[in-house]
């Protein structure tokens, strides 16, 4: 079925999702580096953007799938992809506005599940896959990272206690930059390829390219650039939460968090298990706080993040289902135009609201008690 208007809007939405994925997930790799001043904020984010871009081009074995093993791929139409992307973007921007880290991949999966249920009923969802690929890893990822980061912090703090300040500072700084760089490359390779897969799938579903076609170069370049740009813009609100909100990070804690995140993510990749980078990074940061005497973890904020994680799938799914319903009601083309406009309007409103209490590279490292963004709620806690 050819529908150039819907395809064009799917492409726009996929690029927008890739962009939000970039700036939403920047914090995972750079927040400790920025919070401990291992690198200046702009340099850290710029380096991460370049490495995300490099990562996106590192390997191009792109699978033209979306939520593979989680929804029955025969039900994945252009309309389902469109609705799923709408749900994911809305959730990504909402959590960004509320300064909460949450998984972009889970948001996309949630959106697609919702749209699939609206399109084909719950039989279109492979619930076994939802539990084994999303729910169980989603619960375990932060716990594994929390324990590992806690142990790493204790070991590192104990061993480095007697070393010279200057030598320790240089070593920790270099190690932090290395761990952060590795995470950025991994993110670029992993997440940019997901969007490349979504776009390839959309082009196949529309009949624009043949089923056995390779991903067009323009798709690869566009996705890589969108992810890199999103990372470069920097999701400062979430960087601040990750770097200062959950707990205050010193260089030892920063290194422990980043090493734990890198090792957990790469080990799970090695064994073919996909863990959410966001959940791992958050668990690591909280783990360093738990393991450090006298350094409080702001459990109220951690609880809010936990609630956001719990409702990611249902809320993105609900938006995805509603979006599919609108498309079904208004027709594919008109429905997609209306939905695209609604998503653009909603996104614009959140950016406008966020601009009233901006978090930027210049104030990202201010003490947490300072009222920036929405954290005045936490400041009193």
């Amino acid at each position: 079925m050819h529908n150039s208007v819907v395809l064009g809007l799917v492409i726009l939405l996929a690029i927008a999702f890739d962009f939000t994925n970039g700036f939403h997930d920047t914090a995972n790799s750079v927040a400790p580096t920025i919070a401990t001043k291992a690198l200046p904020p702009r340099i850290a984010v710029g380096l991460s953007a370049i490495l995300n871009l490099v990562g996106a081009f590192l390997s191009l074995k792109i699978a033209a799938t979306i939520a593979s093993g989680i929804v029955d791929q025969t039900h994945v139409t252009l309309a389902v992809v469109f609705a799923g992307l709408a749900g994911a973007i809305c959730w990504n921007l909402t959590t960004w506005y509320f300064t909460l880290p949450s998984s972009s991949s889970h948001a996309l999966i949630g959106g697609v599940i919702g749209a699939t249920i609206a399109s084909a009923g719950s039989a279109g969802v492979l619930w076994h896959g939802v539990v084994s690929k999303v729910v169980v890893p989603g619960v375990l990822a932060p716990l594994i990272a929390l324990v590992l980061a806690g142990i790493a912090t204790r070991i590192c703090r104990g061993l480095l206690a007697g070393t010279g300040v200057q030598e320790r500072g240089i070593g920790l700084r270099i190690a932090q930059i290395g761990a952060s760089s590795l995470q950025s490359i991994a993110h670029g390779t992993n997440d940019a390829q997901k969007t490349m897969g979504v776009l390839t799938l959309a082009l196949i579903a529309n009949g624009t390219i043949a089923t056995d076609s390779t991903t067009p170069s323009w798709v690869v370049i566009t996705c890589a650039v969108a992810m890199g740009l999103g990372t470069f813009i920097g999701g400062w609100r979430i960087i601040r939460t990750m770097g200062h909100g959950f707990t205050e990070l010193d260089p030892v804690a920063g290194l422990s968090a980043q090493l734990s995140s890198s090792v957990t993510i790469l080990t799970s990749s090695h064994f073919g298990l996909s863990l959410s980078t966001t959940y791992v990074a958050t668990g690591s940061v909280i783990g360093t706080g738990v393991a450090t005497k006298g350094r409080a973890v702001r459990w109220g904020l951690a609880g809010r993040a936990g609630i956001a994680w719990l409702i990611t799938l249902p809320v993105a799914g609900l938006v995805g289902a509603l979006a599919y319903g609108v498309e079904a009601l208004l027709g594919a083309t008109f429905g997609a135009i209306v939905l695209g406009s609604v998503v653009a309007l909603y996104s614009g409103s959140l950016f406008w609201l966020a601009s009233r209490s901006p978090v930027t590279s210049s104030n990202v490292n201010e003490p947490w008690s300072t009222e920036l963004g929405l954290e005045q709620v936490e400041a009193g806690a």
Partner: protein
Amino acid sequence: MIAKVAATQAVPTPFVDWNTLGKVIGVSLAAGIGLILIVSLSIISYDWAKRSSSGVSVRVAGWVLTVVSLAGIASALIWGLLTILKKG
């Protein structure tokens, strides 16, 4: 025959792949702790190598250990990059 069919059907796909999860948890903990030990060792040995109050033998040992531990860190980085490439 019936028993054979029943036996085949009685092996369901595991709902959660505990085997892989166990490997991820075990290897993550071992590799993470190993890596933090190596990084700490590199910083400690660099400190020995740079400390002017140390004797010559301690400083030489410090440099040797720094190089060895840095090689360990480099190996970990290469493994990480290879894992990223393999997955991609």
